[in-house]
């Protein structure tokens, strides 16, 4: 399997008043093409920081210090961390999309749903849409007033070549010269298409007449997903996208993810703290603890044969359907990342801690095919 995303030694720090928060401590990870990858861990373990570093949307006190994020797409390999801000903006939403936890803050309350979904198309696929409008104009069935038709044809020809020319932007703001209504209409049609694909009930009406406050939480999250999927991204990142939703709605959305994975997108990174979601939707899993990646393996291996002590304990501490007797819990708390414990960051809470654990950060090794563990227990063998 080829990787779509290779993360190498990614380090991210947050410079706060209390000190430097070492949020990511040399993370290395490969995400294969066509795989739903689950990234689990407790809050503050760095799973969100990791994907935000990949997308380069880390907020102010945070800095991506070093490392590489190599994105493979159509035979090209680009290091996302070295890309210019402009080309990164083109890439976001187009090739890599991200969905956040809170659909309310992702949607603009004063724009209609249709406008918001179209925006993504207008930003990333304008050329393509202009070409389509042009084709319509050239077709014999077009009954537009002739001088206006000539004008539009001229403009759309230009737009299909370079959609960000200054003159186009200027003309679109001058009355009587506004040319982009047709492009917007096309974008709206595409929006309705994608919303229908995501099973939004009565998509056309929703797109034209609804505003975010008209919709329920589950439906809003669907719209957010529609925006994210608008341009057929190769990689979709979902940052706790279902954790604010109700059980029955969450089930709907997860089902949707599975469906989408078959039809539209090739790879998904699913960030969650819910091991149940991982077990049901993911194929590969990465377990994070305090800024380190502890274990990466296929989902069956993680759940049936966990190797890292943290993974074991994490699995023991969630209530299960077959639960009998007491839950095991991890003593202690997640460490403060300003002054993380030396060596392996899990050692103060680890049942199998050894001397070496407090001294050295364990290297990641592959103990069987596709099963990576970073723990001293397996290093010596």
């Amino acid at each position: 399997m080829t990787a779509i995303l290779e993360i190498k030694d990614l380090v991210t720090n947050f410079y706060t008043y209390e000190g430097v928060v070492k949020a990511l401590n040399k993370i290395s990870l490969d995400i294969e093409k066509g795989v739903t990858f689950g990234l689990v861990g407790e809050s503050g373990c760095g799973k969100s920081v990791a994907v935000r570093s990949i997308m380069r949307i880390i907020q102010a006190p945070g800095v991506v210090e070093s490392g590489q994020v190599i994105f493979h797409s159509n035979g090209d390999s680009t290091d996302l961390l070295k890309l210019s801000e402009e080309s990164m903006r083109d890439l976001r939403g187009n090739q890599i999309s991200m969905i956040f936890q809170e659909p309310n803050s992702a949607l603009n309350p004063i724009l209609s749903i249709g406008e918001q979904v179209s925006e993504s198309f207008l930003f990333h696929q304008k050329k393509d849409m202009c070409a389509k409008v042009l084709a319509n104009l050239n077709s014999s069935g077009c009954k537009t007033f002739v001088p206006w038709k000539h004008y539009l044809r001229f403009i759309y020809q230009m737009a299909a070549k370079n959609d960000r020319a200054f003159i186009l932007k200027l003309l679109s703001r001058i009355p009587f010269f506004k040319w982009d209504r047709r492009a917007k209409k096309e974008a709206l049609n595409r929006s309705i298409d994608i919303m229908e694909k995501l099973h939004v009930p009565d998509a056309e009406n929703v797109a034209r007449n609804s505003y975010p406050h008209n919709l329920s939480g589950g439906l809003k999250q669907r719209i957010v997903i529609a925006i994210a999927l608008a341009c057929n991204p190769e990689l979709l990142i979902s940052d706790e996208a279902t954790s604010n939703l109700d059980v029955t709605i969450q089930a709907q959305i997860l089902e949707l993810f599975k469906e989408l994975k078959k039809e539209i997108i090739s790879s998904i990174i699913l960030i969650t703290h819910d091991l149940g979601i991982v077990a049901e939707t993911c194929e590969r899993v990465g377990v994070m603890y305090a800024g380190n990646l502890c274990e990466v393996a296929d989902v069956e291996m993680i759940f049936n044969n966990p190797k890292h002590p943290y993974t074991k304990v994490l699995l023991d501490s969630v209530p299960k359907i077959s639960q009998e007797g007491k839950l095991l819990s991890i003593e202690g708390n997640v460490p403060n990342l300003v002054t993380p414990p030396p060596g392996c960051r899990f050692h103060p809470r680890c049942r199998d801690a050894m001397d070496i654990c407090s001294r050295e950060l364990p290297a990641t090794i592959e103990i069987e095919k596709g099963h990576l563990v970073a723990c001293h227990l397996y290093l010596n063998k």
Binding site: A279, F303, N304, L315, V318, P319, L327, S329
Partner: protein, 345 residues
């Protein structure tokens, strides 16, 4: 089994004001006639989706608001009280005077907001004790230390502010505050949903331990079915201001009846591999509690709906073994479910 609390036809409507004169134009029917019995010493899980009225139920019982209609009967400990006191419309002062206030407590969902950020932990825990009165400062200090010990914290934590603690420790403090006055009944309003998985287990174990030690009664409000399964002896399911099913935990998971319960059960993501099940995934959303549907409230999402469901509201009926279900087709559902989705649970 000895009853501790009994809710009878409990209703809570929140008025919606509108127009220039701010007249009531409609109401949100958060609770629409609930009957529920809570037995002494049990943990009753109350599950449902957000907005179904489960938190409102909890808050009504501990008297954070007055219900619109209905009764809450409280059977006091030990005195052979067979009639119970109706606390539904009791004023806060009377409640305190009769010593009921300190017997009904609550642990809130988010420990970051449930404590005054400008108070030291010492004062946070001491606050309910001070309201009981008749306690010297030495006694108070000792009691606070004892409570801290009970929830697994130490003397070092006494002189700190809540924000200096992690989420789990904060929830421990909240639990300590709730048990400070030796209550009989505690409403747990999603006490673990703001916590991490590993900490959640700690808190759940703590709660079980305390329950056994002091013979506490819990109403455990949550949307997380696996958590209720772990902690509760009985489970009640709410949908849109109504209770649709009440049964014992084992029966709840092995022999669910109400279609909504089936939907909930198949909606939970299970953290185990190889539990391949047929899933019943509901379409659509929960209707608005301002104008709930006629008849059975679940009928517009129910896959087994028939004409009767749209017109007539089903009443909860005991189908044996204290298993209450409010569904017209309660005797057919099992077969229907098996036919449509395959036998699964």
């Amino acid at each position: 089994m000895e009853k501790l609390l009994e809710l009878k036809k409990l209703k809570k409507y929140y008025p919606i004001l509108g127009g220039v004169l701010r007249r009531q134009i409609n109401s949100v029917k958060a609770l629409d006639g609930i009957d529920l019995t809570i037995n002494r010493g049990e943990c009753l899980g109350l599950v449902g989706e957000s907005g179904c009225g489960k938190t409102t139920t909890g808050k009504a019982i501990i008297k954070l608001h007055d219900p619109t209609e209905g009764n809450i009967l409280y059977y006091k400990d030990g005195n052979g009280d067979k009639k119970g006191v109706d606390i539904a419309y009791m004023k806060r002062r009377a409640l305190k005077k009769k010593g009921i206030r300190s017997k009904l407590q609550m642990v809130f969902q988010d420990p970051t907001t449930s404590m005054n950020p400008r108070m030291l932990v010492k004062n946070v825990i001491a606050e309910p004790l001070k309201e009981l009165g008749n306690m010297g400062s030495k006694m108070l200090q000792d009691r606070v230390l004892e409570l801290l010990g009970l929830v697994g914290l130490t003397r070092d934590h006494l002189l700190r502010y809540p924000h200096e603690f992690s989420g789990g420790q904060r929830q421990r403090i909240a639990v300590a505050r709730a048990i400070a006055t030796n209550p009989e009944f505690i409403v747990m309003d999603e006490p673990t949903s703001a916590l991490d998985v590993s900490v959640q287990a700690q808190i759940l174990n703590l709660l079980v331990e305390l329950q056994e030690k002091y013979n506490l009664t819990y109403l455990f409000v949550t949307h997380h079915l696996l958590v209720v399964k772990y902690i509760s002896q009985r489970i009640a399911v709410m949908y849109l201001g109504k209770i649709v099913e009440v049964s014992e935990t084992k029966e709840f998971f092995n022999k669910p009846i109400h279609p909504y319960t089936h939907a909930l059960l198949s909606g939970i993501p299970i953290p185990e591999i190889g539990m391949k099940r047929k899933r019943m995934i509901l379409t659509g959303d929960v209707p608005s509690p301002i104008s709930p549907p006629d008849g059975c409230r679940f009928h517009n999402r129910c896959p087994f709906v028939e004409e009767r469901c749209r017109i007539e509201e089903p009443l909860p009926e005991d189908i044996g073994n204290h298993h209450l279900v409010a569904c017209h087709r309660k005797y057919e559902v099992e077969k229907l479910f098996g036919d449509t989705y395959g036998n699964s649970h």
